[in-house]
Symmetry: C2
DNA sequence: ACCTGAACACCGTTCAAGT
DNA sequence: ACCTGAACACCGTTCAAGT
C-alpha cells in the first residue's frame, strides 16, 4: 500500500504518474492527516537542520513515533523529500497572488521575483529543488500558470515554453547557488571580498580590482539585473518572430 | 599537519586562504603524489557512483589503503570534495584554449559553451559545484581570465564583474539542473513529454499543448538560446553606460 | 614516522513480534 | 489492522596499537 510502483525513482515522470492522484485528492480519514503531518514535519526538520543532517530517526523522534511507521506512509527518504519540495512550491503559490499587469515583462518579473523570494525563505530545501525538474502538482501548476500568462500576452506556445524553461532555470539555479552555504548575510560577502582583495595581484589583477563589484552588489540587485538581461533577450526573440 | 585551520568550513574563503599555498605549490616528495592520487581517485569514484554513493571506505578500498590513511591527508569527506570540484575546474581550463575573437559576444559564448560542455562530462560532480561559489585556484583562474577578457573588450570593471557573475550562475545552474537526474538522454525527455501530454487538459491546457516545446528542444539548443538572451541583455547594458 | 584494524556513534531500511 | 523494538548492513571519523 505505501507505494504503487516500487521501481520508478521518486520524482520521475513515471513515479508522479502513479502518485498524482494520491497527492491531489483528499485522502480519507487518518492516513491523509498523517501524510500531511509527516510531510510538514519533514519540511520543518529540513528547514531547521538542512538536507544532510535530516534523518528518518530524527523525524520519527519529532513525531513521537518510530521510523518503521514512516515507512508505512512513504517508500523511503527520497520519496519523502519529493513531497517536501512540492510542499515548498505549494507555499510559493499560496504566498503570491499575481495581479494583472500592463506588459508581459512586468507580469513575468513579478512572478519570478515572488518565486525567488519564496525560495529564499527555505534555503535548505533549495538543493533538492535544483536536482530535478519539479513536476509534482504544485510545480505543474506554477508552470501552467506562467505559460498561460505568456500566451495571453501573445507569445507563441513554443516561445512561451522556451522562455519559461530559461527563466525557471535561472531563478532556481540562482537561488540554489546564492543560498547554499548557509546564511547569505553580508558577513559572508565581506569575507569573500577580503579574500579576493588579498589575492596575488600579479596572477589575479582583474579579480583584485573587481573585488568590490564581485561581492558588494546586493543579491537581490544582482538577481534582478540578471533577470532583466533575460527578459530583454526574450523580448527581442519575441519581436523577431 | 593535515589541516592548518580546523575551524573554517572547507571551501569557504577563510579555508581557501589557508589552503591556497598547499594546493598551488608543488608539494615535495611522496605526500604530493598521494595528495593528487587521492583527489584523482575520489574524482573518478564520484564520476562512477555519484556524490551520495561516494564513501570514504569505498575510496580507501580503491586505493588499497584504509580510511584512516585518507584522514592523514584530508580533514574529511567535505574537504576532499572541495578538491574534487577544483580538479574538475582544472580540467575545464585544460580542455579549452580560447582563441582571439572579433566581438566580446563571440569570445564570451565560446568560453561559456566550453564550460558548459566540460561540466557535462562530469554530471555527478555538478551538485557539488552548484552548492558553493567555487573560489579554489582553478575557479579563481577561470573567473580572472573571463573578467580580463571582458575588460579588454572595453567593459568597465563593474559591468564585467556583474556580467561574469550572471553568466556563471546561468551556466552552472543550468548544467546542474539538466544533468542532475542521471542520464540526460532523449529517453527521459520522451518520458517527460508523455507525462505532460497525459495530464488533465482541463487543469493544465497550456502545459499539455506545450508538451513538445517543453521537452523536445535539445538541451544544447535550449542552453544556447538562454545564453543568447543573457548576452543580448548585457550588450544592452553595456551600450547604455 | 607512517599505517591500520577495530571501535564509536551514527545512518536508511526491514521485519518479527507485540497490541 | 496498526505499530514498534531490535536488527541488518551500512556510514564518517577516531585512535590505540602495530611496523
Amino acid at each position: 500500500m505505501p507505494s504503487p510502483t516500487r521501481t520508478a525513482t521518486p520524482g520521475s515522470p513515471a513515479w508522479w504518474s502513479a502518485h498524482l492522484p494520491r497527492a491531489s485528492e483528499k485522502r480519507r480519514g487518518r492516513p491523509a492527516r498523517s501524510f500531511e503531518q509527516i510531510v510538514a514535519a519533514a519540511a520543518d526538520l529540513v528547514d531547521d537542520v538542512g538536507v544532510s543532517a535530516f534523518s528518518m530517526r530524527a523525524l520519527a523522534a519529532r513525531l513521537n513515533t518510530s521510523t518503521a511507521t514512516l515507512y508505512r506512509h512513504f517508500a523511503g527518504r527520497d520519496e519523502l523529500m519529493v513531497y517536501v519540495v512540492d510542499r515548498l512550491l505549494g507555499e510559493v503559490r499560496a504566498s503570491s497572488r499575481p495581479r494583472a499587469r500592463r506588459t508581459w515583462q512586468d507580469a513575468a518579473r513579478e512572478r519570478l521575483v515572488a518565486l525567488h523570494d519564496a525560495l529564499g525563505e527555505h534555503p535548505n530545501v533549495l538543493p533538492l529543488l535544483a536536482a530535478d525538474v519539479p513536476i509534482g502538482p504544485n510545480g505543474l501548476a506554477i508552470r501552467e500558470d506562467t505559460i498561460t500568462m505568456l500566451i495571453a500576452f501573445g507569445f507563441s506556445v513554443g516561445l512561451a515554453a522556451r522562455a519559461y524553461t530559461t527563466l525557471a532555470h535561472y531563478v532556481i539555479g540562482f537561488a540554489a547557488q546564492q543560498h547554499a552555504p548557509g546564511a547569505p548575510g553580508p558577513r559572508q560577502a565581506a569575507e569573500l571580498r577580503d579574500y579576493y582583495r588579498g589575492l596575488d595581484a600579479e596572477r589575479f589583477p582583474s579579480t583584485v580590482s573587481a573585488a568590490d563589484a564581485l561581492t558588494t552588489v546586493p543579491l537581490q540587485t544582482e538577481f534582478l539585473e540578471g533577470l532583466q538581461f533575460i527578459l530583454d533577450g526574450i523580448e527581442r526573440a519575441a519581436g523577431r518572430s
